[in-house]
Every structure is written in C-alpha cells, then in structure tokens.
Amino acid sequence: MSKTGILATALGAVAFSYTVASAEEDIGELIPLCTSCHGEDGRPIAPDYPIIVGQHFLYLYIQLRDYQSGLRANPIMQANVADLSDDQLKALAQHFSKQAWPSTSFPSSDEDHALGQRMGTGGQCPQCHLGGYEGQNNVPRLAGQQPRYLERTMLEYKNKVRMNAPDKATLMRGYDDAVIRGMANHLAGM
C-alpha cells in the first residue's frame, strides 16, 4: 500500500479529537465569566480561588469535565459549565493553559518549607507533580498556586469533600491539618 493510501486510511479511521488542534470553538463570550472570579490579570479575586492561567491543558479540561458530570462538586463551577459542549471545554482549557502563570510572592517560613519537604518526601509528591511541582498533563502545577486554595483542596481531599482523584483521600489522611497548612505555604512560595 502506498504511503498516501496508508495516510488516507488512517485519517479516515480516526480523528484525534482529544488534541488541541481541533478545538476551535468560539469561546469569546465565555471568557469574562471565568475571569470575573479567576482574575482578568490571572490573579483570582479571592484567596481560595485557584490560578488557572498557565495551568496544564489536560488537567483544566478534566476538571471542567468532572464539574460537568458532578464528579467534582462545586455549585458555581457546575452551573458555569452545565450547558457547554465538550469542544468548548477543551477550548477553554486551551485558552487558559496557553497564558503565562502570573508572578506571585506568597510568604512562606522556614518551618513551612521543612514541613512541606517532609510531607513531599513521605507522600512522594514529586513523582507526579515533578521536582519543582510544575506538574504535567493531567497533574496540576502547584508551585506558586494560591496557598489558601491549596490548603482547602488538600483538606477537601482528606475530608472526602473533593472526590475526583480517588487516591488523594488516602494520601491526605496521613497528614494532620498543621502539616497540610505548612505544605500549602511551601508550595505557594515556590
């Protein structure tokens, strides 16, 4: 079979619909809704809302999808994505992932770093989140994220409020709240 023949068969058989290239939906009208909370300059309006600009595409897309299905519970986010198509979710994720993470300077103490390193070693967090907690693909960047969002998230995993990452609950149960707070500050200050 010629190479052209193989190509034709290949493209006819499968469309790579999970890739970013095909997500060209018009999302212009949706962006202000997002930035009204997550910040027009990338800095959220409240300390426990997450920075989303510069976050990984696959992680953002999966979270939006999980809000839509209810797997991740949050009344505001669920309402925001309720009527969106899968391609719109991808386009939104793509839009925000392509921007630069804002520069931040969250305060953190030596004690925070000591607690954070201890927790990171025990939980082996860098195995997925990588050495600088920059994340990859479906694993979010944590470095420089809002500390109160990080703390809230870890407690929500621990207390089984956030349920869309099953192994996180077990992991967080091993750490008391003070260590989690220290870890949150440690990550935010990176």
Binding site: K3, V14, Y18, I62, Q136, T170, L171, G174
Partner: protein
Amino acid sequence: MTQRGSFHAIAAGGVALVALAASAGAQETGSGVLYGDMQTVTRALLDRAAGDGNNFLHTNGNYHQTRYYPARQINTSNVHKLRPAWIFQTEVVESMETSPIIVNGIMYVTTSFNHVYALDARTGQQIWHYKQNLEPATAPCCGPNNRGVAVYGDMVYMGTLDSKLVALDAKTGKQVWESQIADPLKGYSETMAPTAVDGKILIGTNGGEFGIRGFVKAFDAKTGELLWTFHTIPENSVGVWATHDATGRDMLRDIAAEKAALAANGDPYETLGGGVWQNPAVDHEMNRVFFVVGNPSPDLDGSLRPGDNLYTDSLVSVDLDTGEYVCHFQYIAHDVWDLDAVSPPILTDVLDDQGNTVPGLLHGGKTGHVYVHDRRDCSLIRFSEAMVPQEDMWTLPTPEGARMLPGANGGVEWSPMAIDPDQRLTYAINLHQPMTYTVESTPYPGGTKLWLGGSFDVIPEEEQWGNVTAVEYDTGDIRWQVKTEQPMIGGVLATAGGLVFTGEGNGLFKAYDSATGSVLWSFQAGAGVNAPPSSYTVEGKQYIVVGAGGNTQLNYKRGNDIIAFTLAE
C-alpha cells in the same frame, strides 16, 4: 464508561495508526552535517553485539541483555586515570534514564519529554536534535522519562509519553513515521526503549497505576504496521489460587472472599494492569522473547481483582514471530504490595540444582531476590539470599497503614542488572526505603486518574540507603555487597576489564572491581547519576558514557548532562 476521543479503530481492530511526518505535527529542531559514513545497523551486527567492543547497539548491550561489555582497554589497573572526555548538556533539565546507543562513532541519547540527540561520540558535538510534539496524555506514574532508542537499518526508534512509536531517519533525525500504540487517555504511555529484532520493533507499555490492560506489541520496522499483540492479561486471569509466593512464603490471601468477588463481578482482566516497561530479551535459537510483567491494578487493593491476576508479577516467554504464549512463571500471585517484576531479564547459561548447565534466565526482583530460571520452560531453579532487609513479609496493607520491608520501590526496582559470565556473577543495585502500605478501595476512575487503591508512604524518620550486590547465580549466594548512601536506581554496566560501573543519586558515578567490590574510581557529576551506563570505542579509544539528570521517582537532583569518560593520556 465512554471512550474519550475517537479510538474505536484501535480498540476494535488493534490496527496501528500510521501517520506521516507532515500530518503528525512532529518537530525536528536542527538537522546536522553528515559525519563520515553512518553505518546501517544490520541484523548480523545486532546479533554479534555481545562481542562488539566498538559499538553499543542495544539498550542492555545485546539480545541476552547481559550488560557485559567485551572491551578491556579500561580495566582495574588503569581506571583510576578515567576522566571526562566531554560533556553534552541537553535542553531538558529533568530525570534521565537513557541508555546511550553508539553506532560507528554516532551516539543517540534521549531525554525526558522525548527529545532525541545524535552526537559525535568522540567529541560530544551535536549532529541533530529531534523533539517530539507531544499530545495531551495521562502522565506516567514515575516521571516523564525515556530510556533510549532502538536502532535498526538506517532508522532510530523511540516510544513516547503519549503512547506512540516514532521512527526517525538516523542520518538526519527527520521523522519517517509514527504509530499510535494505545490510547494515552486510558493510562497507556511509553518510557521504555523499544527492542529491534528481525524487522520488528517490540515495545510494551506503562500504565499499571491507571487500570490498563497491558501488552507487548510488535510493529513492522519499515512501515510501522502492527504485526502482533500479546496481552499480558489473558481473559481468564484467575490462575490456580496460589497461596505462597515464589520463595515459599504465605501471602495471606483470603481465597474464599476472592472467589465470592469473582462470582459477583466476573474476571477483572479489562483493567487489571500488567505493564511491561523494560526491554525483552531475545533468544534467536529458540525464536522466543522473554520479558517480565508489572503489577496488577489497583496496586494495593486486591478486593476488586480476585484471582492470581495472571500474568502480572511474572516472567513470560512468547514466540518471536507470532507473539504466542510459550510459558510463564509468576513470582507473586495477587500482589498487593507493588513488588512487581520490572528489572529486565538476562539470558545466560546457569547450573541447575543437579549441577548441569542449562539455558538460564536471571531476574532481579523488587522483593530483594535474584531469581534464576531454566528458560526452556520458565521454571524456577533457585532464588538468591535477600539483598535488602525483609521484615514482616507479607503483611497485608491496612486502612491505617502497615509497615513492611521492602518498601514498594524494592529491592531491585527497574534498574537493569549486569553479569560477568566468566566470574558467573550478576550485579544488582538495590533500594532500602521503608514505607507503610495503606489500602482504601475505590472504583476504576477512568484512565486519567491514578488508581492505587490506597497509598504508599515513605517513613521519613527511618534511614534509607542502597547497595550494590554481586550474586553467584549458580548458588544464590551473595559474593560481595557494598552499601551506598542513598537508595539506588539507574543501572549497571560490567566490563571485560574487570569493572562494574554504576551511579548514585548524590551525583557519584563509580567503578567497582567486579571480583571484590572495591571502589576503584569515582566522579562527582553534579546531578543524580540514575541512568544505565554504556561503553564504546572510537578511533582506538574506549569510553564509558552515562546520563546525569537525576530521578523523579526518588527525587534526586535534576540535571541535563551526558558525560563521556576516557583514560587520561
């Protein structure tokens, strides 16, 4: 659950997707000037690799994976004069696990995130640089690594993090074809180096932490067409309800509960795990390949996967031409500790328990034992003394966390061993990293979420360390053992010069006397040396080369160096 993307063609027919370079959007950054006459890698060359003291043609040295290099210019009497010949700094500061491949003075190395470099092996100068354009994919468990390329004909082959097999032109680094191996949003990805044999490219898969159904696949080296698939998880995965492991210890299974779960929910094969993420060994006379299979999914929670979970945690042999099953040996049935089989097997003659020489196979286990097999029927002949502390095996994981040694990283993790066939020793690098095992049952989360069914937690107060161990494979006795400061991960090279080379997370790359374990030379590389070393000869000078990029799994200091060493004049 619904399938993400449109992967129906692959799921239904197992047909490889062959896309050409133009449509795949792969990038090459820079093509270089031709260096000399770049040699076509022939079948004969690959078959003769064990005696080839110029090239380094296979991830683990040769088809038998002995990692024994036949050149002896660098030896015990002069290794103290070893010094860097050159350092190449890649663009990627991240975990490095690549085995450098050298063909007629051209070196191919890979980095995390699927870059490939072709370098002049004498000078370290870049010839070309290729960077894969990666699609969104479930991140593998233990770092965005790549263990290197395979070479065959005029092509260079790499597996990618988004579960593709890529073929590049060896002279220019331009992509010739890429094939989709499996769905990256179902947890399938590649970090292993492929194996090239007889016009076929063999590759396994990652994903045992994500509920995959594992496999080894063979692709046509010229076209990328899928030739055969061996599923490491058969549709009947139940087995024989083994209660004891290969070393004869009771694994405390609740067989009655498992049988009830099986009756209620059926065979768990579809999400049972069983990745193969190290190279298979090839026996051309038998026309078979030998590989080891990783852990069942979910790692810690056996309640969802009743039965022996075949062929997880097993040695398996299949026919090279057809991929059909020949034999297997399961080290741990129904594993709930992630103490799976990952270090690549080595083929070599061994003595059986009658003192007869038989075609054998060696595997270094996360349990801490070296297993010695008769590879004709996969049967176990013996297992070595434990190379690391074992305590409270096989304590079951609990909701509060239970301590057991070894921790879930082993023993021998994925690090390839080496042998010295004259001394009849095998060399393993080990971890001692105490952990607790916690179990909490959750249902299958869909392929983009980690699915351990609990957690492994390192115990921060307990001391961690590693060792380099030489084991007599004809007896199972430990000949010598050297403790190291930190748990070891990377790989071993043994040479005819009487040396064993291996690196550590603290940056030290060392040469040991292979007979005694004396440290004869060391070098501080500035980042974790956690990759397997290679060797080669160019213009009459022998080199040792290794990657120093640190490691994600053990969080060793990251770097971006390939360092080649040679003897000072």
